[in-house]
Amino acid sequence: MTLRHHLSGPHGRPFAVLLACTILLAVVDGGQGRFLSAATAYSSLQTFATISLVTLGLGLTMMIREFDLSVVGMYGMAGCIAVLTGTQHPWFGLWLALGIGAAAGVIQGIIILRLHLSSVGVTLGGLLIFVGIAFVLTESRALPYDNLSVALALNERIAGVFSIRSIVALVFFVGAAAIFAWTRLGSEIIAIGGDRRAAITAGVKVDPLVIGIFAFSGLCAALSGVLLSYSLASASPAGLSDVIAPAAAGAILGGVSLGGGSGRPLGIAAGALTLAVLRSGLNAVGAPPFVNDITMATVLLTVAVLDGPYLARRLILVRQRFHAATNA
């Protein structure tokens, strides 16, 4: 297959969009070197590190036709837990937060499966509880993280454009992509999202997989929360709620359909990277910050409408009415 075929196929779309956005920003920059620079690449990857793991977790739950709202709360709570417990021993804070993230995912998954409940409802309860715990733990204050050497180490540039944070995120995506490529897990996850009953009939162990995905989603949210809080050298219970919009947008841009049953980890990486490049690129070429919000919203709205199951039917109706009106 040619490159063109690859880019226009369903799995190529995220990469095509990423390429288009990059080219567009380079053209807007007009060769002034503000966009195509190591600094912008570094800041893009930093943004990528902040949003991409949450996007991966949420995207995987969307692939199996669920929706893990609680990632927003877990993101904030994990950061607070790590900062509170990890001043002396950063690894202890990290592992504690990761353990809590995974355990919370398992509990939510079990509740959803055993009680046959909607995942939006259950994870909404989880979200509110995690936010509550974060407020209780921090007494509603922003906590400083006094271990500055950790903060510096996390943000230190490696090879000009990377940092430990972005490398961790990239490693997670490579690992997930490898699992999808070389084990049955990937196709089983897609099968659960496409038709859960058929997946059960085909012998897929649905329940452990669903619980595992919610655990993974909690773990991812916790990990990115911890890394962000460590690198900012502070954690706060409020103000982290603006992660849901980029996470959902990244997953959708990455080819995860709203109806479940489609998507690839590398696609999600491309989706998250597109948002990161847009944010850093627009910033680099001097666009005001609201342009980023509006761009993201436009992308989300467009995809939501194009994925709307009634779109074709409505368009046919409109065309018929238009013809009737012109003939009469």
Binding site: I111, S118, A245
Partner: protein, 330 residues
């Protein structure tokens, strides 16, 4: 159904009956749990020293009213089968700003109208997308949230807008017979929404669309009009919250209404409106909002820090959701 043999049909009927029985059993369980919860809450609340003393109850009535109006709007969205909107909190903020600007420009009365229409319009447009092409309601509301913040930032660089002195009549800031005017508005909103839900054809259609979109379509309900209508009303009730906040503080910014979406859906669910749609009422949401507020005041009076309120609300919501019955699919 695609079963061809009568055996298959019988089986389907038996399964449906089983599901219904389980559902009614669970809903009975739910009502019992709710009744016991409310009685226990009342007992503890009234037993808390200082609860019946004036100030705490009155401050409770004011704060619950802002979130309450949003929750009434959210109720209509939830009943319509579209779960929740993440954009109502942002709508509160932006409506408050539009209201202040319109007041400064046109005066109080027209400002009120502009504010209400604006809230209904921006929320109604989301409803149109959701109803007409059946776009995913969660994604549309997340997009609307980002769009509202982006556009507001583009227009209002300073962030906060202030009302010109004397433009808001002192009358609307007062109390009617010691009851804060905000609470009266909340109460009236509840009654209006309840009237819409239980006494109009639109309300009947809304329940039908929420419980089964296909069935509603099959009996000839205009589903997109119904869904859009639900969002238009939701926007109107949400706008009321924004306007009341703007009147209270003579100013407005996007910090008004932050996290109201979550507080509102908590009130809706605690009241017992089903998250799957097709069931619920505005009166239940009113009760839900009051229960959460009472718990919060009680925690405060018992010496627990304010942060515990958030945790308590979360635990109550999860408990109520776990008792809920309808939950196929998402």
């Amino acid at each position: 159904m695609t079963e061809r043999s009568s055996g298959g049909q019988n089986y389907a009927v038996a399964v449906a009956a089983d599901v219904l029985r389980a559902r009614s059993h669970r809903s009975r369980l739910l009502s019992w749990a709710q009744a016991i919860g409310v009685v226990a809450l009342l007992a503890v609340t009234l037993g808390t020293p200082g609860f019946l003393a004036g100030p705490s109850v009155l401050s409770l009535l004011t704060t619950v009213s802002f979130i309450g109006c949003v929750a009434i709007g959210m109720t209509l969205i939830t009943i319509s089968g579209n779960i929740m909107s993440f954009a109502l909190g942002a709508t509160v903020g932006v409506t408050a700003m539009v209201f202040i600007l319109a007041c400064n420009w046109l005066g109080f009365g027209p400002g009120l109208l502009v504010g209400l229409l604006f809230g209904s319009l921006i929320t109604g447009l989301q409803g149109l997308l959701i109803g007409w092409v059946r776009a995913n309601p969660i994604i549309v509301s997340i997009a609307a949230l980002a769009l509202i913040y982006g556009v507001t930032q583009a227009f209002a660089e300073k962030g906060t807008v202030y009302a010109e002195p004397g433009i808001v009549p002192a009358m609307v800031k007062g109390k009617v017979a010691t009851v804060p005017i905000e609470f009266i508005v909340f109460l009236l909103s509840t009654l209006i929404a309840q009237f819409i839900l239980s006494a109009t054809r639109f309300g009947r259609n809304l329940f039908m669309v929420g419980s089964s979109f296909r069935a509603a379509e099959a009996v000839g309900v205009s589903t997109w009009r119904t869904v859009t209508g639900a969002y238009v009303w939701a926007g109107g009730f949400t706008a009321l919250a924004g306007i009341m906040l703007a009147i209270r503080y003579d100013s407005a910014n996007m910090d008004y209404g932050v996290a109201y979406d979550y507080d509102a859906i908590a009130a809706v669910l605690v009241g017992g409106t089903a998250i799957g749609g097709g069931e619920g009422s505005a009166l239940r949401t009113f009760a839900g909002a009051m229960v959460i507020a009472a718990v919060q005041v009680m925690l405060l009076l018992n010496g627990l820090r304010q942060e515990w309120q958030y945790l308590a609300a979360g635990l109550i919501v999860l408990a109520v959701i776990m008792l809920q019955t309808r939950g196929s699919g998402r």
